[in-house]
Structures are given as C-alpha cells and as structure tokens.
Amino acid sequence: MNIVVLVKYVPDATADRRFEQDFTVDRVEIDGLLSELDEYAVEQALQLKEKRPDDEIEVTALTVGPEKALDAVRKALQMGADKGVHVVDDAIAGSDYLGTSLVLAKAIEKLGAEKPVDLVITGMASTDASGSVVPVMLAERLNLPQVTLASVVETQGDQVRIKRDTDAATEVVGATMPLVLSVTDQSGEARYPSFKGIMAAKKKPLETLSLSDIGVDAGQVGLEAAYTAVEDATARPPRTAGEIVKDEDGSGAQALGDFLASKKFI
C-alpha cells in the first residue's frame, strides 16, 4: 500500500511573522519548520504502517515550497517516513489555494503513475494560513472521496472510518480507498524523531521535482496566475496597554466589576 503524506513548511508561529512588499508571506527571513499540525498526519501514516505490516506500506512525504521547505520533508523522514518528494520551482511562489492544490494534485498524480496511491493524508490546516481547504480541493481535483478532520481513524482492508466533530454534531464517516484523509490534533500525539530515526533519515531517498516534471505550466500558478489578490496588509496597531490591578482582599473583583459596568456589560 502507498501513502502520501503532505507536509507544509511554515514560518514559526512564535516568531514575528510578516509579509513581503508583494504581500506574500516572508518565508525566507523567518525561521521555519514542519507545520505542527502535519506531524499528526505523519503520525497517522506511520501508525497505519505499523498496524498493517502485511500491506508493506510505503510512506512518502511530499512538500511544495521553497528550498528551505526540504526541512519539512526531512523531519517527516526522521519521524519514520520512507521517502521524500520536494516540488520546488520559483514560479510557484505566491500561489493561492487553487494554485497550491493544483501543484499538489499533479505531484500526487505523478507519484501515482509510478505506483497507485491509496491514501493521501494531510493535516487539518496549515499553521500559517490556516485555510483548511487544500485537502478538500485535492479530493475534488483527484476525484477522490474525502474523509476530513478526523479525530479518530480506523481502517479495515480498503475501508476507512473516521470520527469527526463538526459545528453541530459528531459524525462517523466512511469511504473506500483511494481517498484523501485529513487528521486533527485530537488524533493522537505525534512521535519525536529518535536518534536512530535521525541517522536513518540521511540515507532515505529524496526526489526533487520542478513544475515541468509534474506537467504544470508555469503560467497556471504563482502570484500572477492567482485567483485572488491581496491588496493591502496592515499590522494591527499594538493594543493600548490595558489597566492591570492586583487582587487584594476582593479589590480585584470590585475593580473588574466597575470596568465591566463602565463598558455596559453589566
């Protein structure tokens, strides 16, 4: 069985994330890493591999992004993925949801032509843009069922069943492979790479693909070809420092009550 797990390289959320002049995210100056929410996707792929030894599961970690994005693939390999694929091309910079999902879909098709892909596993959302739409766009483009936002994943043969929390209900959803699966941070702690894993990762196969390798025309993607245009990005003015009081013998509750009353909340 063949699993492709999607891993996005994102700027560190605890750093000062910012935009470039053209309103694309500064992905070069700011330290980046594998999106933490994609670690859960890698984890689920590895758990399946361990649970189903007879299926000889191969886990491929796929990223689309600049040179540095290779770090995301490396981390997945250290965790235990078998091989890595990095789609990198200057023309991809500035792609929106439609462009990004197109590149990912074509890359997956290319991998599938070599060996059919049974499962595409993704995170629930990236930690930078947090669109939470790329997995579904992939399902649409690849004409595959989606079982998304899984908090629990179960498989049997080619059947996948997941539990997912929507706004109004908890649902159990089922579909037959091949399919696109996205998992949430409720799906189970992701493992840390072991020392052995880190050493082993250095010898794992890594493939680099350009747009022409996956059959995408450079004019179809990137900032120029995007379906959306950012016109302005403004940093929020720093919040004016609020009033902070120390509670002493009930004074805190009193002051807070006065504040809420002054704002007409009570």
């Binding site: 959320a13 994330r17 910012r18 929106d96 949801y97 439609l98 999902s101 629930m124 959302a125 930690t127 930078d128 947090s130 669109g131 939470s132 739409v133 790329v134 579904v136 766009m137 399902a139 649409e140 004409n143 595959l144 069922p145 989606q146 079982v147 998304t148 936002l149 929390d165 929507t166 706004d167 109004a168 209900a169 908890t170 649902e171 159990v172 959803v173 089922g174 579909a175 399919l179 379906y227 959306t228 245009a229 016109e231 302005d232 990005a233 940093a235 929020r236 609020g242 009033e243 902070i244 120390k246 509670d247 805190g252 509750a253 807070l256 009550g257 504040f259 809420l260 909340f265 009570i266």
Partner: protein
C-alpha cells in the same frame, strides 16, 4: 444588480444568526438570494426568516437524495445552481458561505468546480469601486489585517460569524425549488452515524456576545467560570490544556485548532495566552483576564486584567454582579 447567493446556515430547525449577517453583507454587493439545502418541509419557515433580512429569492434544494453524504453532493448542487443563475441573469456578484468546518469544505470544492477564486474566513466585505467585492481577513493570530479580492471567476467568500450586525430589510422571499442531479462520484463518503451535540443551555460559542473561558489554571474546577458565565448570559470556552485534560469537550476549545470567536467581551481565566489560543480570540472587542501570574502573556492583550486567584476573584465578581442587578 446581480444576484449574490448566500448559503443558509440551518441547524436544529432554525436559521442561524450568521445567515442574517451574510445577507446584510450581500446587500452591499448586489441582490441577496438565500440558498437553502435541506428538507422541503422546512422551506417555508426558512423563507419567512430570511426575507426579513432582505432575501429576494429563496432557492430550495431538497436534500432527500444527498443527505447522508459528506460535502461533495452539496458542492455539486451549489455549482449547478450558480451556473443556472449566472446563465439566466448574466453573472453572479458573489457566493457567500458561512465559515464553518463543513461549509468551508463546500466552498473549497465549489471553487475548484467553478474555477473561481476563494477567500476564506473574511471578517468584513465591502463593494469595490469596480463593482467587485473586497474582503477583509484577520490573520497571523490577529496581528495582521489583509484586504483582498477574487480576480477570477465568481468570488466565493466564506465569512466568520459576528462579522456584521444583521440589518433587517424587506425582501420578497420568493421560494424557487431547484432540482439537482447529483453524480455517483459525489456520493462516496458516507455519513455512517451522527450524534448531535448536546445542548448546553448556554449561547453557542461562535455566536455569543460574551464568552467566559477557563484554562489549566481552573485546576479542572469550572464551577466559578460557569457561574460567572450564567450571570452574564455568556457562553463557556476552554483552552486546549483544559480540553486535553478532559475537563471540557473539544467543542468548547477556543484557538487555532478549536473555534475562532469574536465576541464583544472575552473573559480569560487561568489561561496563559499562548499564540495558538490568541489565534482564536484576539479579535474579541474587549478582552479581560484573571490570572495569578502577572507575567502571563495574556495580560499583553487585555483591556483590563486582574492578577489574582480565579477561584476567589470570579465568585466575588459573580456576587457583585448579582448585587448590581439588585
């Protein structure tokens, strides 16, 4: 003016408030039409509700043959409707969809189907000078505000709850049944079981005007948080630490991997203010915190903060509010 399609958010027999917010925003762009995907029996009630907020038409897509499947059939239905309306009236101004877990997925599939741009999680929409729609997003945990446009196809925009104050307006509310043909390919992910969320008796997190939240600092005892929430008529929220500890179900979680909220007042208790928590609440109008550590990062955001123990401050506050009310 061109039509603007607004997907109705209908749950437990009622049209939810975000629908009215979207209709209000839609009026800035064109003529609002509501789209209701659900049981035909509910259509009259839905039409009654949405016409009060300016819906001229109410397209009803009977869900009998698509119920029980995940997302894809709904996207297909919307695609067919959008193409029909567009062909009949020479173009759609926009398609507005409430931001929710399922509805965002519908929007995503629809964008690919219609080969149109998608903007997610808008917090405001305005008409552009050239007639298009300008959407505002709040990103990077509320640290940046972006404005942008869809430049290809029909603008599809998902809008967060609480993004506009619903304005009443008289609409004709003319009901039009719309028949769809759903492909077998769209019926591949089946909903095997559904467990509706238990009603808490409190306002819903994403719609509430006031939210009182608790974190690890509650030590698992949410009684003081809940008592204050009830005194204020507020919803109860929780940090991931509180959810991971099993003190509250995941549906209470505020933050990057929980709900994004934007109430008038957010009261954070025993919550340190990690970036992922901020991502879900930083756009709240007024922020208040109670935390016993004066160095807690949450204090950088607050309009008013109390350094103290929530187990003494909250009950005293609840009592004080009771007395003020007399």
């Amino acid at each position: 003016m061109s039509e603007v399609l607004v997907l109705v958010d209908f749950q437990n027999g009622v049209v939810k408030k975000p629908t009215f917010e979207l209709l209000t925003l839609a009026k800035r762009l064109g003529t609002p039409s509501a789209v209701f995907i659900g049981g035909s029996g509910d259509a009259a009630g839905v039409a009654e509700s949405v016409k009060k907020y300016g819906a001229e038409k109410v397209y009803v897509i009977d869900d009998a043959q698509i119920k029980g499947y995940l997302v894809a059939p709904k996207a297909e239905a919307l695609q067919q409707l959008a193409e029909k309306v567009s062909a009949d009236s020479g173009g759609l101004a926009a398609i507005l969809i409430p931001s929710g877990a399922e509805t965002k997925e519908i929007a995503a599939r629809l964008a690919v189907k219609l080969d149109s741009g998608l903007i997610t999680d808008a917090v405001d929409i305005a008409a552009a000078d050239d007639g298009g729609a300008v959407a505002t997003q709040s990103v990077f945990a509320g640290n940046y505000t972006l404005t942008g446009k869809v430049t290809k196809g029909t603008p599809i925009i998902t809008v967060k709850p609480n993004s506009a104050a619903p304005e009443q307006a008289d609409g004709a509310g003319t009901v039009e049944e719309f028949a769809v043909t759903v492909s077998d390919a769209a019926k591949t992910a089946q909903i095997v079981a559904t467990q509706p969320r238990q009603a808490t008796g409190r306002p819903e997190l994403t719609e509430a005007a006031i939210i009182v939240s608790g974190g690890r600092g509650t030590g698992g005892d949410f009684s003081a948080v809940e008592a204050l929430a009830d005194e204020l008529g507020a919803a109860v929220g929780a940090s991931r630490a509180a959810v991971d500890s099993g003190w509250k179900p995941h549906s209470f979680q505020v933050g990057q991997t929980g709900k994004t909220v934007s109430p008038q007042l957010y009261v954070a208790n025993g919550i340190s203010g990690a970036i992922q928590h901020r991502a879900g609440m930083q756009t709240s109008k007024t922020i208040v915190a109670v935390n016993k550590d004066e160095e807690a990062p949450i204090f950088e955001l607050v309009d008013f903060g109390v350094v103290g123990d929530l187990h003494t401050v909250l009950p005293a506050l609840t009592e004080a509010i009771k007395q003020r009310k007399g």
